[in-house]
């Protein structure tokens, strides 16, 4: 029998080469970020533009989202059904994604079908039909989708939480909109949004695939060179400093669990203490073996999983602890989360810092495996106005994080007096627990975050 008592050591150093990112420019000044990857005969493309839902009028929230639904319903010489048929025939997968900040048009195509697939994509961007019958249909689908999401406790908790912490800002309402705001949108709004925010936008194009650089640039120019891009629109963000941090409950009768989100806004991605904060969150709740999950899942058995995260929109970050717990343990779980948040500000061990750093440094190569992963990493650097070389210094920056910087990051980026607590679940079971545990009367909200 071999001796199994000691974990084996790694076999030497890793030979990890970061992908080479080429920055190309089209004749009409679009930036193209290209990584040649030859493992598979496919090409992953993302054409992004600053046309997210932050440009929606507040009473027409959902306009960017609805525009993205209508835009591929017929373009150029193709009607709606023909266009989807053309993509499907090629085995190409075309999708649009709307965020608060930007709009992504993604395309996965076989290498040999890239030219024609990109041609179809260009038609969507430059010659969408935007017709009444397609608009009516997509608007109706969107309203149904919003109605459907009201059954989803996780979505309700997230959207109510963002409504509270981003009150009076353009991140307040979900990108998909509310039934009341989508109902206000008409076809003219969509056409106006398209003209002002998508057509002639200064696209950024990200391509990872098994394709030649010259062919790529020629193809993009062949189909998009007619566009004269305008300078991106400026939009200012003013953080609401008067967030009413307290307990909120949204009633979901007979729910089997309580969906809980606790947190507040945070600094944007492009901040000095990003790396200490990342290490700190890995200790707190960013991994399976982080404090919050070990406590709530493995120690107490309240939940299937609990985590914390710092996520980043363009103008603001967001800190949130998220879990779904046995409804009888709702207040207990919240108390434990509070304890963990206090704990990370005062008590962090050097071994925890070393462990978190080790994980973040060593798992880094695995983030560059698939085509879409590589694209996402590059896109996020550009999105947050970071240098492309950031990926070259990532591991060193994590390595250099020190214990006192982790504690400082916990104190600077988790503000215990500014936490908003949103619970979605059976109100009759939750309220008595919260009153009993915290001596607080929670505010009761509907599933859009309005006071009842």
């Amino acid at each position: 029998m071999i001796n199994r008592s000691q974990a084996p050591s790694p076999s030497g150093n890793l030979d990890f080469k970061l992908p080479e990112i080429k920055v190309l420019k089209t004749i009409n000044n679009f930036d193209v970020y290209f990584v040649k990857k030859e493992k598979l005969p496919i090409v992953f493309t993302n054409v992004t533009c600053d046309a997210g839902s932050k440009f929606d009028p507040i009473d027409k929230k959902g306009l960017a989202y609805l525009t993205s639904l209508v835009i591929d319903e017929g373009a150029g010489e193709f009607n709606a059904l023909q266009l989807s048929d053309e993509f499907d025939k090629l085995g190409s997968i075309f999708s649009t994604y709307i965020g608060h900040d930007s709009n992504d048009f993604t395309l996965l195509s076989l290498k040999e079908n890239f030219d024609y697939s990109f041609y179809l994509l260009s038609k969507v961007l430059t010659e969408p039909h935007l017709e009444q019958k397609d608009f009516d249909r997509e608007k109706n689908k969107l309203i149904n989708r919003i109605l459907q999401l009201k059954d989803d406790a996780s979505f309700v908790a997230s959207s109510v939480f963002e409504k509270i912490v981003f009150k009076d800002t353009f991140y307040e309402l979900p990108e998909i909109g509310l039934i009341s705001t989508v109902s206000n949108i008409n076809l003219d709004d969509v056409i106006k949004f398209y003209n002002e925010n998508i057509f002639s936008n200064h696209y950024k194009i990200f391509v990872v695939g098994n394709i030649e650089e010259d062919f790529l640039l020629t193809t993009i120019e062949k189909y998009l060179s007619k566009i004269n891009p305008l300078q991106p629109k400026e939009i200012s963000f003013t953080k609401n400093e008067k967030v009413n941090a307290k307990f909120y409950v949204v009633d979901k009768k007979e729910s089997a669990q309580s969906e809980i989100i606790i947190g507040h806004t945070a600094k944007p991605r492009n901040t000095d203490d990003y790396y200490p904060t990342k290490v700190m969150n890995a200790i707190l709740g960013g991994q399976f073996s982080s404090r919050i999950n070990l406590n709530l899942r493995e120690n107490k058995g309240y939940t299937y999983g609990a985590s914390s995260s710092f996520s980043y929109y363009k103008h603001s970050g967001l800190f949130a602890v998220h879990t779904a717990v046995n409804i009888e343990n709702t207040a207990d779980a919240i108390k434990e989360i509070f304890n963990e948040l206090k704990g990370i500000q005062t008590n962090v061990k050097q071994e925890e810092v070393d462990f978190a750093k080790s994980y973040l440094i060593k798992e880094f190569p695995s983030k560059f495996e698939t085509y879409s992963q590589v694209e996402k990493i590059i896109e996020q650097l550009i999105f947050h106005s970071l240098p492309l070389d950031e990926i070259k210094v990532y591991q060193a920056k994590i390595h250099n994080v020190k214990l006192d910087e982790v504690l400082l990051a916990a104190n600077n980026n988790i503000q215990l007096d500014k936490l908003s607590i949103v619970v979605v679940g059976d109100l009759e079971k939750i309220i008595p627990q919260i009153k009993n545990q915290f001596n607080i009367e929670p505010a009761i909200l509907d599933n859009e975050g309005n006071k009842i």
């Binding site: 598979l40 040999e112 109605l147 058995g301 779904a324 046995n326 080790s358």
Partner: protein, 444 residues
């Protein structure tokens, strides 16, 4: 209208199907203790996926102990002889690894993805929990609570979350597919510690596992390490039970209503179909694509776009080792009755039964299949899992390269034939999910 040039371009791309697919190479062998090993080398990223497919799922369970296989998946993270409780994930993550596992009716699948210089660590961890898992009351009690919450989160508290459970229990009366992997929490509560120990010594044995490794490896060195860590694990001595129940015909349409916390009605048809890998299964999968893959598919185009009766539609075969189900479903738009949506779905089914699909539509399926092949095998984890599954279910790991030929042999006539053979009224379960507010007073 498309130009002629474009048509030729598309025609060319159809011809190219399959010709371009790069073969996935692998080595396969068996250890003396019966453990199967599959190795695939891919040095493009310095990572390695170490996976173990245990050929045990919920269909191996005692009907009085449902949920056992899945529960065991949780216990496998509770520590082993040389890895104390709570350390498994710490060791994995400290070395830059990610890991997880999942259970289905036929198998339990564990994986770890590591930087490739940590291959030996992964083998040490996996071999330790195979040969000397720590099964005690502390671990069992902890995971009892966690699994209860998993059930609530993934099934009970999710809109339409119990759909598969409610469907399978009506579609099967004899075969163990009648219960789902999460099982009944009461069964786990009743189980004794000895039952868990027996389950491990029966199913978690070398001859019942396939170790499939894909990534940045050196094949001879990897073989040496596998020999070192796994060869001394003794072969299991207990009989591995495989269910022999043959589910009789459904005996007529089964129709039922589930009242749930949802706002929009859902209609589901579940047809009984043959097992995965049978000739008809390939035609059925192509049929599902005709109905619901992409926005130009039949159900989407007709029900979502044209008639606007549904907000979501779908169709997919739930293929399993033993005969499974073919599902079609739709979630109704506001104001549309479940009955109207069902009639519209039925009309689309009747069309594929009556007429051959067009040549153009047929060619589309073939290109979609090619893209799917690449997306399924774009990660080392995907390759490792596919190799293991093809071997365990069909005895031929090389199907990862050749199964696409079976799809390409499917004809338009085959698609029409299987639609007529299996998508019949007497061969299906029809389930409506309706808002609780619609529940009649006498059933409250």
């Amino acid at each position: 209208m498309k130009s002629k040039i474009l048509s030729l371009l598309i025609l060319f791309s159809f011809v190219a199907v399959n010709a371009q697919i790069k073969k996935i190479t692998f080595e396969q062998y068996k250890l003396d203790n019966g453990m199967n090993v599959i190795l695939h080398k891919d040095n493009s990223t310095p990572i390695v996926a170490v996976t173990l497919l245990y050929h045990v799922g919920s269909k191996n369970e005692d009907p009085q102990r449902t949920g056992f296989a899945h529960f065991f998946e949780h216990l496998m993270f509770e520590g082993s002889k040389n890895i104390p409780r709570g350390e498994f994930d710490k060791i994995s993550q400290g070395a830059g690894g990610t890991n997880n596992a999942n259970t289905n009716p036929d198998r339990t699948f564990y994986y770890q993805i590591f930087p490739s210089n940590q291959l030996e660590l992964a083998l040490w961890m996996e071999s330790d929990r195979l040969m000397s898992l720590n099964i005690d009351s502390i671990g069992v009690e902890t995971q009892r609570k966690v699994v209860k919450e998993e059930r609530k989160q993934s099934y009970d508290n999710r809109p339409y979350g119990t759909l598969i459970e409610e469907t399978f229990k009506r579609a099967y009366k004899v075969h163990p597919y009648r219960w789902t992997t999460i099982g009944n929490p009461e069964d786990i509560n009743k189980a004794t510690l000895q039952e868990f120990i027996d389950f491990h010594s029966t199913y978690y044995v070398p001859q019942n596992v396939t170790l499939s490794i894909a990534g940045d490896i050196d094949i001879p060195k990897t073989k040496e390490l596998i020999q070192k860590y796994f060869s001394e694990i003794p072969k299991g001595t207990k009989e591995i039970k495989r269910p022999k129940e043959v589910e009789p015909d459904l005996g007529g349409e089964v129709r039922d209503i589930v009242y749930d916390n949802v706002q929009l009605p859902l209609v589901l048809h579940a047809y009984r179909v043959p097992a995965q890998g049978t000739p008809d299964s390939y035609a059925l999968e192509m049929l599902a694509k005709v109905l619901s893959t992409g926005q130009s598919s039949r159900l989407y185009k007709e029900l979502v776009d044209k008639q606007q009766k549904a907000v979501v539609t779908g169709s997919f075969p739930y293929f399993l080792e033993d005969p499974g189900l073919f599902l079609t479903y739709g979630i109704a738009n506001i104001g549309i009755k479940a009955e109207d949506l069902e009639a519209a779905i039925q009309t689309e089914i009747d069309k594929v039964k009556k007429d051959l699909i067009s040549e153009k539509e047929f060619q589309k399926l073939r290109n979609q299949k090619e893209t799917e092949f690449y997306t399924e095998n774009s990660s080392v984890l995907g390759v490792a899992e596919n190799l293991a599954q093809y071997f365990v279910y069909f005895g031929d790991a090389n199907l990862i390269n050749t199964e696409i030929d079976r799809y390409m042999k499917v004809t338009r006539e085959d698609i029409k034939r299987v639609a007529n053979k299996y998508l019949t009224k007497e061969n299906r379960v029809v389930l409506y999910y309706l808002p609780k507010s619609m529940k009649p007073a006498d059933k409250q």
